[in-house]
Symmetry: C2
Subunit: 139 residues, 2 copies
């Protein structure tokens, strides 16, 4: 049993050494990176981006987003499943039913895992009612 533990430890150390070597002696971060680009695009396809914000949430909240702290907290609340942003619409507001679509996207990394999310709303009113004050796309 003791030998087994020793073998595992050696393998772990070797693994660490190799990982460090691959990263060219650059010290590994103590946190998994969380960095996204958020965009708002007119239309259904995503060819012409109207607005874009960067957001980095580790080790501190920063970016061109106007409120990085709030946006990082709201993203953290989704645990990387951004459909959660659609789950709490304002039930007291109504929207005209005209179709003038707006697409929002989030691409990048959340806690070390790549994310690529997009959602198309029928118009900006539907977007505003659905996000219901959520700060992630408030830029």
């Amino acid at each position: 049993m003791r030998r087994h533990i020793a073998a595992v430890s050696a393998a772990t150390l070797l693994g660490l050494a190799c990982a460090t070597g691959v990263a060219e002696a650059r010290p590994a971060s103590l946190y998994a990176p969380s960095a996204v680009v958020l965009t708002v695009t007119q239309g259904e396809d995503e060819t012409t981006v109207v607005r874009a914000s960067t957001l980095s949430c580790a080790p501190t909240a920063q970016g061109t987003h106007p409120d990085p702290e709030a946006a990082c907290a709201a993203l953290a609340a989704t645990a990387g499943t951004l459909d959660a942003l659609l789950a709490a619409p304002d039930s007291n507001r109504a929207c005209p039913m005209h179709y003038d679509p707006v697409t929002v996207t989030a691409d990048g990394v959340w806690q070390g895992r790549r994310i690529s999310w997009k959602h198309t709303f029928s118009n900006t009113c539907a977007m505003s009612v659905t996000f219901n004050g959520n700060p992630v796309f408030a830029f």
Copy 2:
């Protein structure tokens, strides 16, 4: 001829007015957004991101990238075609041929157009030689 110019101007103004209206009276930016998330990942797939940086290049260079100005200038030199980053390897350096792949990605927006680029190098040496001092992935 004068009438033609007047018609074009009216159409332009109408277009501007509509664009502003759709954006919910938010003033349109004077610049096309340029914002990317850059990642470095161990392996061929992109599931576990080792390092990530955000970079916003308009109106000013900023982000968690250690040298946003240099990285934005280098990205501007590619004109959004990031394969150009691979075009000037250091011909004076050799690399061991072992396979320990590293994947780099760039996702986001460049001058209003969405970009999604990735490239896998056989090892970190190959990456370093290929980028040849280019600052975009130097983080």
